[in-house]
Amino acid sequence: CMSYERRFYFNLPEVQKALHANRTKLPYSWSMCSNVLNYSNDDGNINMLPLLKRIIQNHIPVWIFSGDQDSVVPLLGSRTLVRELAHDLHFNVTVPYGAWFHKHQVGGWVTEYGNILTFATVRGAAHMVPYAQPSRALHLFSSFVRNRRLPNT
């Protein structure tokens, strides 16, 4: 129910003042997703794999992670796309598909390609991974920014 609490909080004048927000007094209240945008529908069709390929070719590590309870953009599609990207880049598997651990429990499953492209699931997480599994998500993020692999024991 946090979405209701959030909407209420962000529309409190004292909160907006403390955040230096809404300086132009917008003619609508704060909402989580925009009602005023006319965003290009066509852009959802753009294939992101060539862009991810270019990022990786610039030696920038890419991690794709999936909360395994999400059916909107489920792990089944992301995992296949990451594998196809790895294939396109002629990458070998550098971490075979297997469980990663957090606090003596399985945190999810992970695989890595070419020492630079990682796919990881987060067990028990939803579309909003850090919201649904805060501790596992923080572990995953900490590993990512420290350029460490997720622990397999």
């Binding site: 962000f10 945008l37 006319n38 066509d42 920038i60 890419v62 309870q69 089944l76 599609g77």
Partner: protein
């Protein structure tokens, strides 16, 4: 340290006492059109002067990074049950990095434009505005110009983040001066390729026992998602359309598609 005093958030209403600093305010990305993006920046809990900078964008397109990312998912605070205060998120990602949340594009949250046509936008204009935003944000926080930068997000940020990263790489390729120090890209449940991500939804329903074998197999055998383009209906057979309709009906309104085992919030 040269950070903008006028953007310092001294304390948020109902906020528990914390030891890190927060900043929030506007960055003008187009003065002529009056287009301005709102940001919220949270220092790392420990050693912020040496921690990297992580940018987080939410999905949508057009959903709030501050509302979703900062105050629901990975930021230091969640709203309290009565909506009048905040409680600590002990697993906030500012335990590992400085965090930057941006309402992007203009029209999201408190970001705005004085030019109505600016609200007709897309991936390309969003990425270009974000480049301008970052360059100007670094003018406010110059210490971060040389700091490691991580680009992260979820959902439609599967579009926002890779396109933004490529714009930054293009900037680096053409710049003789300042270059972005991108150290990693991480995206969660990202929309990457629609004709694979759409059928995955029905495979998920089927593999998790949410639809029957018959309907699952009908979708997997009779639907061809390869030519799927949103929002046009894809060239599907009656059998495919019927199976998809039935699948959506069986899953029903009492399942949150974003978290299939979540209880409904009445």
């Amino acid at each position: 340290n040269g950070y903008p005093k006028e953007d310092l958030v001294e304390s948020l209403p109902g906020q528990p006492k914390v030891g890190f600093r927060q900043y929030a305010g506007y960055v003008d990305v187009d003065l002529k059109n009056g287009r301005s993006l709102f940001y919220y920046f949270v220092e790392a809990v420990k050693d912020p002067d040496h921690m990297p900078l992580t940018l987080w964008l939410n999905g949508g397109p057009g959903c709030s990074s501050i509302g979703g990312g900062a105050f629901t998912e990975l930021g230091p605070f969640y709203p309290k049950g009565d909506g009048r205060g905040l409680r600590r998120n002990s697993k906030s990602w500012n335990r590992a990095s400085n965090l930057l949340f941006v309402e992007s594009p203009a029209g999201v949250g408190w970001s705005y434009s004085n030019t109505t046509s600016d609200y007709d936008c897309g991936d390309d204009s969003t990425a270009r505005d974000m480049l301008t935003f970052m360059l100007k944000w670094y003018e406010k926080f110059p210490e971060f110009k040389s700091r490691d930068l991580f680009l992260t997000g979820e959902s439609y940020a599967g579009h926002y983040i890779p396109q933004f990263a490529v714009v930054l790489l293009d900037h680096n390729a053409h710049s003789t001066g300042f270059k972005f120090n991108i150290k990693g890209v991480a995206i969660g449940n990202p929309l990457l390729k629609l004709d694979r991500d759409i059928p995955a939804t029905y495979e998920f329903f089927w593999s998790h026992g949410m639809i029957s074998d018959e309907i699952g197999l009908a979708i997997m055998n009779d639907c061809n998602f390869e030519d799927y383009t949103y929002p046009s209906p894809h060239n599907a057979t009656d059998s495919c359309n019927n199976a998809i309709e039935e699948a959506n009906s069986i899953v029903g309104d009492y399942i949150n598609n974003y978290d299939v085992i979540l209880d409904v919030c009445y």
